[in-house]
């Protein structure tokens, strides 16, 4: 029997011919990542290991993005720990405010993570890079400390669930809707300890931005990684960016039984889940779990106080273009604060050049420097008790964006932008009717 893409990447990095699910392997990593929240602990643990230098100064990457620009004295102290370490270790890729971005938007954009890589990051959304056909997974600071020192981590080879999305998506429905729908279907622990493999003509048709959005939220189903097959879109994306050679791995085609809708048949895969998404509506995840998903038509009357457009899930240029298209010539509802956060400095600059920033400001939205800020209730848009926010981010747990009595509704950039105008959760179609 053949191997899945995830298994092939792990086998190659473990230096063995074959791996199977459940097997423990020690793998060489291509990139190790940490941010201003997780790196201080990783650095503290690294220094206790007793090695002098990181395994490779080109492959240990640090991005202060969560509480930056520094939100308070304690955050400033944490960022200083990163900065000092990066200087002491002479790290090639330390991204200072003004040249940085949200890590999971930044690293692919900079060509620092590539197809076929094993990437470990002290951030759960490290799985984003699976969109490139890499095996990327989040770990804690101590694991990352060991990886920084040795360039190796131990892993249990995960089973793979293959998700097959059939059909052509309706206009205005994209990667965010597909992944929310999927999490609603399989649950927040539906892929616990497993890898997801996204496939089918609906995701083949997605842009790289849409694929990054989907892979990003694999963790929200409990998955260890979420992978897409390499194709001409991946190639076009990495071609101009890659700073080193890379290898493409493809899943062997297992003998599949005839497709059954919502069925669970497969050869090598733990499960094959087939979905017809041709009639799928925009999706909204209600508080307080990403799996608490409803189609837009069943949302009802949900007034909002804030809309956030950005994050490692939806902070790419295409996301801002979609939001600007909705907001162009319209005004943010008087009751609503609309916060737009470009994912990186490059996205920001391009948004300025394309007139998107002008559109946002004219609509009455605020445009922030790249930061994770409000997504985790850090800064730049924290919620008060009783407030509701529609957000293009990835989590809506109790207290995620501020007060424990606030509420977060997860949606696509199109829905978030339309909701900002409507003052309640709704889609762009409603605006056209109003116009």
């Amino acid at each position: 029997m053949g191997m899945t893409m995830a298994e092939k990447i792990l086998a190659a990095h473990a230096g063995v011919e074959l791996v199977k699910p459940g097997q423990f392997v020690e793998v060489n990593v291509d990139v190790v990542l940490a941010n201003d929240i997780t790196a201080p602990i990783a650095i503290r643990e690294f220094e206790r290991i007793g090695v002098e230098e990181v395994f490779d100064r080109d492959r240990v990457i640090m991005v202060p993005d969560h509480f930056t620009p520094n939100k308070d004295i304690q955050s400033a102290e944490q960022c200083r720990v990163l900065r000092d370490f990066a200087r002491r270790q002479n790290l090639t890729h330390y991204f200072e405010v003004g040249r940085m971005g949200i890590e999971h938007v930044l690293l692919p954009e900079q060509g620092l993570v590539l197809p076929g890589d094993v990437i470990v990051g002290a951030d759960s959304h490290t799985c984003t890079y699976g969109a490139l056909g890499a095996f990327a997974t989040g770990m804690g600071s101590t694991d990352i400390a060991v990886a920084m020192a040795t360039g190796k981590v131990w892993m249990k080879v995960p089973e793979t669930i293959k998700l097959v999305y059939h059909g052509q998506l309706q206009e205005g429905v994209g990667g965010k809707d597909l992944i929310l729908y999927t999490i609603g279907l399989i649950g927040v622990d539906g892929a616990r300890y497993q890898a997801l493999e996204f496939s089918g003509e609906a995701v083949d048709a997605l842009s790289m931005a849409g694929r990054f959005t989907m892979a990003n939220m694999a963790i929200e189903a409990g998955a260890k990684a979420g992978l897409f097959a390499f194709d001409e879109k991946t190639q076009a994306y990495v071609e101009s960016r890659a700073r080193r050679p890379y290898t493409v791995y493809e899943s062997d085609t297992p003998p599949l039984s005839p497709p059954t809708l919502g069925g669970m048949k497969g050869g090598r895969y733990a499960q094959v889940i087939e979905m017809d998404v041709s009639e799928l509506e925009p999706q909204v995840a209600f508080p307080h779990l990403p799996s608490n998903v409803r189609p837009l038509s069943r949302v009802g009357e949900v007034p909002i106080d804030q809309a956030v457009i950005g994050s490692c899930t939806n902070g790419r240029l295409e996301d801002l273009q979609v939001a600007a298209q909705v907001l162009r010539g319209r005004k943010v509802h008087p009751r609503v604060r609309c916060i737009v956060i470009p994912g990186t400095q490059a996205v920001y600059l391009e948004a300025v050049r394309q007139g998107l920033v002008e559109t946002f400001v004219e609509a009455g939205a605020v445009v922030s420097t790249p930061t994770c800020g409000p997504c985790l209730g850090g800064h730049m848009g924290v919620l008060a008790a009783g407030e509701r926010c529609v957000s293009t981010t990835n989590r809506n747990f109790v207290g995620r964006m501020g007060h424990p009595e606030s509420e977060v509704y997860l949606a696509s950039p199109a829905v978030a932008a339309a909701s900002a105008v409507l003052g309640r959760i709704g889609g762009p179609a409603e605006l056209e009717i109003k116009d």
């Binding site: 944490q78 002290a122 770990m139 804690g140 101590t142 694991d143 616990r192 985790l376």
Partner: protein, 161 residues
């Protein structure tokens, strides 16, 4: 290793924002983090928890972020062990790596708040001293037990290395 303490009972999908809200991630010592452990779901927990107490929950405990602050906060409160039906993957690794014992046991559902539990880590046996029941959790592979005995992965690496 024998652990004894009173159970604090929670449900499914206790996420890392519940264990330690992100607004407190501008600090990183177990002592500082412990003050806000479980704050948004159980504001009394951090004040009332006693050294040795045991957190018991159902499925997918520790889902969400990769923040090691979550098991560190729990360890900082003096909690001796977390028992759950299942754990989220990253939390599981993190807890073992920092030397916080955690046990997967389907019978976690049956344990009630306030009951006194006694745990034998080596065998994975959980005794409910209030009801007289004994539950069997999945015992650790030897290398993981070694990490816990050493107090964490770094200690284990240094001692073993």
């Amino acid at each position: 290793m024998k652990l004894t303490g009173k159970a604090w009972k929670y449900g499914a999908n206790v996420d890392t924002d519940a264990i330690i809200p992100a607004r407190y991630l501008n600090v990183s010592t177990p002592e500082e983090l412990a003050r806000h452990c479980m704050e948004d779901v159980d504001p009394e927990f951090a004040q009332k928890v006693q050294p040795g107490d045991i957190i018991v929950a159902t499925t997918n405990f520790g889902c969400g972020s990769s923040r090691e602050h979550a098991p560190l906060a729990i360890k900082g409160t003096g909690v001796s062990c977390v028992i759950a039906t299942t754990f989220a993957r990253i939390f599981y690794r993190n807890a073992i790596n920092i030397g916080l014992p955690i046990l997967e046991c389907p019978a976690a559902e049956e344990i009630e708040a306030g009951q006194t539990l006694e745990i034998e880590l080596e065998t994975g046996k959980i005794h409910n001293l209030d009801t007289g029941q004994t539950f069997q959790a999945e015992p650790y592979p030897e290398f993981m037990m070694g990490i816990i005995r050493a107090g964490g992965l770094i200690e284990y690496t240094r001692v073993g290395g």
